[in-house]
């Protein structure tokens, strides 16, 4: 198990992978990916009790579902760095014949992916299904899911929230990437989420708060979330991140939600992110 220094090093490398994937494919979503780099690193290198090799059914291990599939670059990077597929494969992101589709998919058989996501609002429902199966199977492991915050505008999210509380799906931990931004601007300008903690509480969930770009706090909260499972209520972690975190000119703005850096911007971004584990071989010079 990695310590905090090691986790921060991994997260830095993951951020480099995000910048390089989006630069080389000239597409993708760097903003939310950078903001969630610490969460994914903590999850896969500390929190999840997982088999080293991928098993679609997730029997006997914790499972993770990504609902906001557009932040695929961070997931791909972490999956590769965690050993699910070769790191070199990151160079195929969004290219023809790749297993690393623009949005995550099972269709090409990429290890680590259990459901396609991209069209928003569906991931919590899927995670609930997996959690119910664990209960039927007598499997004590947990199911995790991540959603965006703008995604909470989808109605299916609240169908799922109501179901999970009613049916006491207490082996489920949903994290909300609460960066306050979505494609068209801040949540509060597009469609305000209102009092988000009160909403989840009213739906019958345990509600935790955490900064999402502070590794120690994040680990502490996720551990606490795990301790709250098995008590009759689903758990939601409202995770405050900054979109674009780790790259100064990308931080805190919706403008980098779905825009790839150009060469000059990519070089500038990488200069702020120490190479810790070694870059994957890219097709160009950066």
């Amino acid at each position: 198990m990695a310590d905090i220094t090691q986790l921060k090093d991994i997260a830095s490398q993951v951020r480099r992978d995000i910048i390089r994937q989006t630069y080389y494919s000239n597409s993708g979503h760097p903003g939310g990916s950078l903001g969630c780099a610490d969460f994914f690193t903590a999850l896969y290198f500390k929190v999840l009790r997982r088999h080293p090799h991928f098993d679609m059914t997730g029997k006997g291990e914790d499972m993770f579902f990504l609902s906001n599939g557009h932040i695929s670059p961070v997931w791909y990077s972490v999956l590769a760095r965690a050993g699910y597929f070769p790191i070199e494969e990151l160079a195929t992101f969004r290219q023809l014949h790749s297993r690393l589709q623009g949005h995550p998919a099972t269709h090409e058989g990429l290890p680590g992916i259990r459901i396609a996501s991209g069209s928003l609002g569906q991931g919590i429902s899927v995670a609930i299904g997996a959690a119910l199966a664990k209960k039927l199977n007598g499997d004590p492991h947990l199911v995790y899911a991540l959603t965006g915050d703008g995604e909470l505008q989808e109605g299916q999210i609240w169908e799922a929230a109501m179901f999970a509380a009613h049916h006491k799906v207490d082996n489920l931990i949903v994290t909300v990437d609460w960066n306050g931004q979505q494609i068209d601007g801040p949540n509060d300008e597009v469609i305000s989420l209102g009092n988000l903690p009160a909403k989840w509480e009213a739906f019958g969930w345990e509600v935790l708060h955490t900064p999402g770009n502070d590794m120690a706090s994040l680990l502490h909260t996720l551990q606490h979330a795990g301790e709250l499972t098995g008590k009759g209520r689903p758990v939601v972690v409202l995770m405050r991140t900054e979109m674009g975190f780790g790259v100064d000119f990308m931080t805190g703005s919706h403008k980098w939600h779905g825009v790839a850096p150009n060469k000059e911007q990519a070089i500038q971004a990488l200069a702020q992110l120490p190479e810790t584990l070694g870059d994957y071989p890219g097709p160009g010079e950066i």
Binding site: T57, S117, Q122, S125, A130, A160
Partner: protein, 319 residues
Amino acid sequence: MLDQLINTGSKATRDGFGAGLYEIGKLNPEVVALCADLVGSLKMEAFIKDFPERFFQVGIAEANMMGIAAGLATSGKIPYTGTFANFSTGRVYDQLRQSIAYSDKNVKVCASHAGLTLGEDGATHQILEDIGMIKMLPGFAVICPCDYNQTKAATMAIAEHYGPVYLRFGRPNWPVFTPENQRFEIGKAQVLSTGADISLIATGHMVWQAVEAARALAAEGISCEVINVHTIKPLDEETILDSVSKTKCVVSAEEHQRNGGLGESIAGLLARRLPLPIEFVAVNDSFGESGKPMELLDKYGLGVPDVIAAVKRALQRKS
């Protein structure tokens, strides 16, 4: 052979689903069921009574139901979702597409109250577009059995087939004329009655209408080959082509829009492999309305006289 196709007593195809679900629940412990507040309409009570831990009441939240089913399937369960056909398809198309079809999940979408024969509830609930929507989704099988016995058998058979399935059935009592406990073969069309003059190819409730039309036509000296295409996708192309090679013309019959339906699939096959005349018995680009099932079939051109008229049009075009 037409003589052997007799109504042994009318029952609803949805009752066949309920009976089949219960039987497969007994046989296969991985089968689970979900329902969106329509347990009674879908006849799921027997399954729920004996397997309460394997049943999930989702409430009026069909999108969530499809997502949960996808998650259960990911973990190796075989989920059967139950709601009306309208809410099983159009309302949740994106969930079916992304979380189930594209993700290759072994989910059985079981859809009752399809078509005009839903009756009095009217056009909001009488979906006539579902076959078309679902047959366009890569990997989905589309099955529409013709009576109680066949729906029961199909409900059990789909558990043995890996992959997403759309199982379509209906509300009204309807003649039961296929044998009890006949094995259901997904993708295998059934020649119910051999004939020389025309291939009369139907699905669902319209198979009985086709049988009745064939009887009337036989009295006029017209010999119909009646084929039950209970699996619209994958389509049994060889059985259809074998028949049409002999008869040289086709009538299709279905409780669905002409656009996107069984007839369209057959027409596409004929255009590619054996271009010969086809006439369609289907709803022609309109919504239904409230009424009794048989009244509605007559008004929207799906009555036995409409099948007979379509056969005569096709025969005229053949020469």
